[in-house]
Each structure stands twice: as C-alpha cells, then as structure tokens.
Symmetry: C2
C-alpha cells in the first residue's frame, strides 16, 4: 500500500492507495495561507503521519515549479516553500521507504493513463484546465519527463501569435493565458457576464476563483452558465475551446498522440467547450495520423491526484525512470 | 557495416556506414520523374545492389507519409509510390538481413543526435527547414515515434492563429506554411525581391526551388541575399525566424527540450534567420526550464540522411523500439 500525497495551494490531501489503484482511505487539510515553511510542513505531517504505518512507499504530487527528480519544491501559490526539500524531508521522516515526487499535473495525467480515460493508450496528453492549464505526456507507452521533469507544459504552447494576453510565465499568447479559469471569468465579466448567486453547497473549488459581491466567479460557474445558454458564457467557452483546439493540434502534430484527456473545473463544460474545441482541432489537424486523435473528459474525480502519485511507485516501470 | 539508403523525390542516395557512423562509400542517382512504381524500384536496386555484399543490415530513410514500422511508403513528391511496400521489398531482395525504415526527417534528427550537434543531449528536436519543415524528437534519451511513427512533425505546429497561410497538410497557419523555402521565396518575390543570377557551381539543391528566368529562386539563394544585406531578403528571414522561434517555444514547453538543431537549406542563413528566431523564442519561452534551450545549426552535411538510416540498426536500442 502506498502513502499518496497531493499538495496544493488550497488544500493538502493524503491517502492509502492499494496496488490495484483503489484509494482505501483519504483525508484532507486546508493549506495554511501565508504560512512559513515549517508551518506548512507541520500541517502536512499531521495529515500524513496517521496513514504511514502500513505504507510501503510514498508518492507525492505537488504544485510546480520544482527540481526533479530531487523534489525541491517552490509551488507558485505556496510562497512559504521556496526550494523546500520536500522529497528529502519525507525520506527523513519515513526511513527506509522509497519516496517519489512529481508535478501535480503530471500525476493527474498518470492517473488517467493508469486507471482512467487513458487506459490502453500508448500516446496521450493528460490535461488539466483549472486555475492554470497543465498536463503530462505519455509517449511510446512511458511517461515523458523531459530534461528537468517539466515535459507536458501544454499551457504554454503559443495559441495567439500576434501579441496575445500576457501570461503568468512571462510570455504571451500562451494557452493558459487565454483558457485558465480566472482569465475566462475576467474576460466574461468584461463582456457583461453576470454570475449567478453562489450555491451554498458549491463553494469555489480550490483556488479556481473567488466570490465577488456574493456571486461565484469561477470557471465552473461560467461553464454551468454556458450550459444553461448564457450568451456571454457561451462566447467565453468558445474562446477557451478554440485556444484548446489549436494547442492540441500543435501537440498532436509534434507528438503523434492518440488521446487527449481534459480534467479540471472546465472539463464538465460539455458541448459549449468541446464543440468549438473539436472545430478548431479539425480545422488545423488534417493529416491522416492527426485525424485519429480523440479528445475526452478525464474520467477520474478528485482523488485522481492521489492515484497518480501512488502510480509513481506502483507502476514505476511506466511512470518513473530507471535511474533516479 | 550497414547498407544505408536515403530516398527522396529528387535523388536517391545509398552508402555503406561503419559501426562508428563513418560513411565508407556512397553513391547517388536522380529519382526518375513521373515514373511508375517498378521504374522507381529498378533505379533504387541498381543503386544499392553493388553495395550489398558486405552489408549486415539495411537502414532506410524515406519521404513520408508512410505506415510505420511496416514501411509502406507514399512519398508526397514520388507519386509513383503509393502504399509501396518498400521495407518488404528490401527484405525480399536481401534475405536474412534486418531492414528498418523511418521518415527521412527523423533519420536526419537521429544523425544529429548520434554523430552531430546533438551528441549527449537527452531531449532534443532535430529540425530540417527546406522544401518542407520536418523533424524528429529524442526525449528521455530515446527516439519518440508516436502512435504511427509520425512524432516530430514540428512543421505543423500552429504559429499563426488568426487564419495564416494555407498549408499543404490541409490546415493553416502551420510553421511549414510560413517558413518552408518555397513559401519564403514566394513571399519575397511578392515584396519585390530580385534573385541574383545563379552561380553555375550552385544549382538549386534538391527540390528546394527552381530557376526562374535564369535566376535561382531558392531558400538558399534568399538566405545568401539576406546575408549580403538585401532588405527584402532580410525581412523574409525575419518572417521565417519569428515563426521558427514561436514553434520552438511551444515545442520546448511541451517537451522540456535542451537542444534544437536546424538543418536544411535555410540553416546556413546565419544571423538574419537565427537573430529573429532567438528573439521570438526568448519572448515566449520565459520559464526557467525553457530558458536553458539552445538552438544550433545542424553539424552534419549531405550524408546525414545515410548516417541516421544506419543508426536505426547500429544504435537500435536508442532509435528503434524493442518490439517492431
């Protein structure tokens, strides 16, 4: 059984994952905001220590950037950790247990490939469209790490060549700058979108958005409004779908993919997102090999991050290089 | 010693390549134009048969598209071969010898990785910018094939999102539609470029261009004029360089590359091409991992295709999957 950990700026999750990928048990804790390194670490250890007795190994997904495979992490939305030696600290806490750590978006892609919509695919890109746009690449049947563990950054494929919106990465015209939840909701608000009052049962997921004057300004809310026929929300979904379709066309030409899975808040947007996505994709991806590509919503739910983190050990031949 | 073969629409080349990658001997023949399948085959066998006595295996680079690894080829500029079973025919002609075949652009990338500018790189894209724009991907130290052997199609990464020129692939805004030699020379002519009279010693290379009114209308000639300061030629190189820089930024974000090599007619264009390329690349590729990318001209000359074809056997652990 693997102790699986998923560390994000809003919450931390941990669980025990069986060899067949089943999450046996899991727990969550809110990530302390504006906390220093040791406070964050204490929150994490309080979460994971009770699960550690039966663990044969520790798998971790964490927000990037990070050094990989060393696992010194500097998650963008956890300013308390800058160059924090998370892998080494976990190794110290659980002597004798192997510890493997990767980017959280890569863990989600691994999970879809191992247990979700990507089962059986040899060449897939697992995407997550949420606060950011990330992904992981499986090619020729193996996870691709790239030289520094950063392969899969589909969010920074260029989709608007003439300028395009400024991106958090410092560039411009990136897919993420157009299609991330906060960019879409900001665009929709600027076009007159009026978000519905929030459902008390459905607070903004993770860090995807914020309440504004008691209204849920999230990508998820925008997607729901598009499904309900709101014209500005529909235009926003079209904007995201087109950008996604162009980036996916570029990715499949470069990597000869058979499958792209899309998870995250926007993946439930249905036809208003996937229609324009397919249209742009088919407009650009015309060669025979590219036409076989399928784009599907991710199949796994909110425990996908734990499943992918566990797979770093449970299916290490596929998802972890033999050397590091 | 490997019998290496490089089949293109303008010429066919064959050679014997030693285990260390040295081309011991080589020969060429013009590819018969408008020829039927068997005429093309006869030209090829006349070229290769005299080299076959000492061969331990046969490696082939051929223009695409093709089925891979079966090696039924339909080279775009060889209409006489459509679904021609080149690998099977070569196996029949040289019983007992292993025959491996790949896309010619992939063979060029392999050659640069094995013996050229890419030696020691674990994550590189080997590009060729010529009549078309193609490439091959080496990631995590191995050639990436993709699901149908078509990985590496950097020429069809989208670089102009709002329309953009129509591409031979059926899409639009592809890198190839902007930066291929014929597109650049057509653009330059439309802007008033007057090509210099051709040098009798320097006929248009391969199928890169044509003479027009006794003037060499080739990407190579355009590059030479840019180096000599011709203002329209400089603008054309800037146009190509920007498109290349954007596509390379997208590729390195997706694949976490450390190196891109550029071969083909335009690779000798120097600062007029590589300056704007670097400018666009650095404008878009800002994250730490992407900033380490180096872009270099290819190091090998016109026998690179033979070297790469031979490597399919001589370094098969890296460049050929274990199953097919």
């Amino acid at each position: 059984m693997i102790l699986a950990i998923d560390v994000g700026g809003t919450k931390m999750a941990a669980g025990l994952v069986a060899h067949d990928g089943t999450v046996i048990t899991s727990r969550r804790a809110a990530t302390p905001q504006n906390a220093d390194a040791e406070t964050l670490w204490d929150t994490l250890t309080a979460l994971i220590d009770p699960l550690s007795a039966r663990a044969e190994g520790v798998g971790v997904g964490c927000g990037g950037p990070m050094t990989w495979p060393d696992g010194e992490v500097s998650p963008l939305n956890m300013p308390g950790w800058r160059g924090f030696p998370l892998r080494a600290r976990l190794s110290g806490r659980f002597p004798g247990l192997p510890v493997r750590l990767h980017n959280d978006a890569i863990c989600l892609a691994i999970a879809e490939h191992w247990q979700g919509a990507g089962r059986g695919s040899a060449d897939m890109l697992g995407m997550v469209v949420s606060t950011g746009v990330g992904g992981g690449l499986i090619l020729d049947g193996r996870l691709i790490n790239g030289g520094t563990g950063n392969a899969g950054h589909i969010g920074h494929v260029v989709v608007e060549s003439d300028g395009g919106p400024r991106c958090g990465c410092g560039g411009h015209g990136c897919l993420e700058a157009v299609a991330r939840g906060p960019a879409l909701t900001a665009w929709a608000l600027s076009q007159g979108w009026t978000p519905a009052p929030p459902d008390a049962e459905d607070p903004p997921a993770d860090s995807e958005g914020a309440y504004q004057e008691d209204r849920a300004v999230t990508g998820r809310a925008l997607a729901a409004d598009a499904l309900a026929g709101d014209p500005v929300a529909l235009l926003a979904m079209r904007r995201a779908g087109r950008a996604l379709g162009i980036a996916i066309a570029s990715a499949t030409h470069l990597c000869d993919l058979d499958l792209v899975t899309i998870g995250g808040g926007l993946s439930q947007a249905g036809e208003p997102l996937f229609g324009p996505l397919e249209e742009a994709l088919r407009d650009h991806a015309r060669m025979g090999f590219a036409r076989r590509l399928k784009v599907m919503p991710a199949a796994l739910g909110q425990e996908a991050g734990l499943v992918g983190a566990a797979a770093l050990l449970l299916a290490g031949g596929t998802y972890w290089p033999s050397c590091p």
